[in-house]
């Protein structure tokens, strides 16, 4: 008797797979509330996975790469930006370098400089530029991106909230447990992070008045 209903429900699922257009989303939902059917569906999905895993499909990697590389040619603008940034860094560091040289030079061999006005200015200048460069370097090490690997959304957001001084409100409990891989670059703003996170299909975040709302 019981076996009969089990079989009936399983057949029902198979028939629904065969003709999905004949059934509504609710019909699927209803049927899958049944423990046995759910397990049946799970086992079939696992079986499909297992069999797929053991069947290799040859991929023409060369062709795929060519298609990919034409679609994703490094954009020109990006390149210019990188180049400009590099020049900027080199320029800055050479100023600092020159400053250090000069500063050191003045301290040890001040008397050798014939010009009277310059030492004062020069000494002031290197001091400030040194202060500028040192904390900047410390910043960049503490600002290395934090990588969340297979982390729960709650973990990620709680850390961010503390860092950006906002509060997090989860409207649905499940959202807390969405797992993801995420690189948190702390040099970027919170809204930039939200933009990245919202790109995930299962995540919907809004920020209003120092409160981060997780849908």
């Amino acid at each position: 008797m019981k076996e009969e209903t089990i079989n009936k429900k399983r057949t029902q699922l198979l028939d629904m797979q065969e003709h999905p257009d004949r059934y509504t989303e609710e019909a699927f939902n209803d049927l899958l509330t049944d423990e046995d059917v759910r397990r049946f569906a799970y086992d079939m999905a696992m079986t499909k996975r297992a069999m797929r895993k053991h069947e290799r499909e040859e991929v023409d990697v060369d062709r795929t790469w060519k298609a990919f590389s034409t679609r994703h040619q490094p954009r020109h603008r990006n390149r210019i930006k990188v180049v400009a940034a590099t020049i900027g860094i080199i320029f800055l560091s050479s100023i600092a370098f020159a400053a250090v040289l000069r500063w050191g030079f003045f301290r040890s061999t001040r008397s050798e400089i014939p010009n009277h006005n310059q030492p004062v200015i020069a000494q002031k200048h290197p001091n400030t530029s040194l202060q500028d460069t040192i904390p900047a370097q410390q910043d960049s090490t503490s600002n290395l991106p934090i990588v969340f690997d297979d982390a729960e959304l709650a973990t990620i957001l709680n850390q961010m909230a503390a860092y950006y001084h906002v509060e997090v409100v989860f409207q649905r409990k499940q959202s807390k447990h969405v797992r993801l891989y995420f690189r948190w670059n702390r040099q970027k703003s919170l809204s930039q992070q939200l933009e990245l996170l919202n790109a995930f299909d299962r995540i919907n975040l809004t920020l209003s008045d120092h409160t981060l709302i997780v849908d």
Partner: protein
């Protein structure tokens, strides 16, 4: 810049097959799988992510896996049930999942009678409809259903004794 392009090319050539293969046994659909793998590489280019040689493969595979699971999660119950996509509500596939799949394959390869295995193969590898399978094997659709149902019983029994 030149070096960057060649390094993405190396990553791509070295890992694409493996990544695609992983996507294929989670997501099944050929086009979707190629898209997922491409997207992973596109993301690396866009975000200028530098991968460490020791962990690059693990990173790439995990990215593929997560993307696939995110895609599946977005699909309707109906689509998941029809395409027999596994809805990993527990989060990401566990690390020992691969082991379980291998175990499962062993069970499948010992299924009797041979017709049962054949049905599974036509269904899950060739993606035939149940009617097509029935026609192909000259049996009724009910027979196909029964074999599937019994195959799953065997699988469940074996998996229970080995794990879970």
């Amino acid at each position: 810049m030149k070096q960057e392009t060649t390094s993405i090319e190396r990553l791509f050539r070295q890992h694409y097959s493996k990544m695609y293969h992983l996507a294929r046994y989670i997501l099944f659909d050929t086009d979707e799988c190629h898209d997922v793998v491409s997207d992973v590489f596109a993301r690396i280019l866009e975000d200028k992510i530098t991968l460490l040689p020791d962990t690059e493969e693990a990173f790439l595979l995990r990215s593929v896996r997560n993307r696939c699971l995110n895609l599946i999660a977005r699909k309707s119950v109906k689509e998941r049930a029809t395409r027999q996509l596994l809805d990993d509500t527990t989060g990401v596939m566990a690390a020992d999942d691969d082991e379980r799949l291998d175990q499962l394959m062993l069970i499948i390869s010992h299924l009797e009678p041979p017709l049962r295995q054949q049905i599974l193969r036509l269904r899950y590898l060739q993606e035939m409809s149940y009617q097509e399978i029935a026609d192909n094997l000259c049996v009724s659709k009910v027979t196909v259903y029964n074999h599937l149902s019994q195959a799953m019983d065997t699988i469940r029994k074996h998996l229970k004794t080995t794990k879970r």
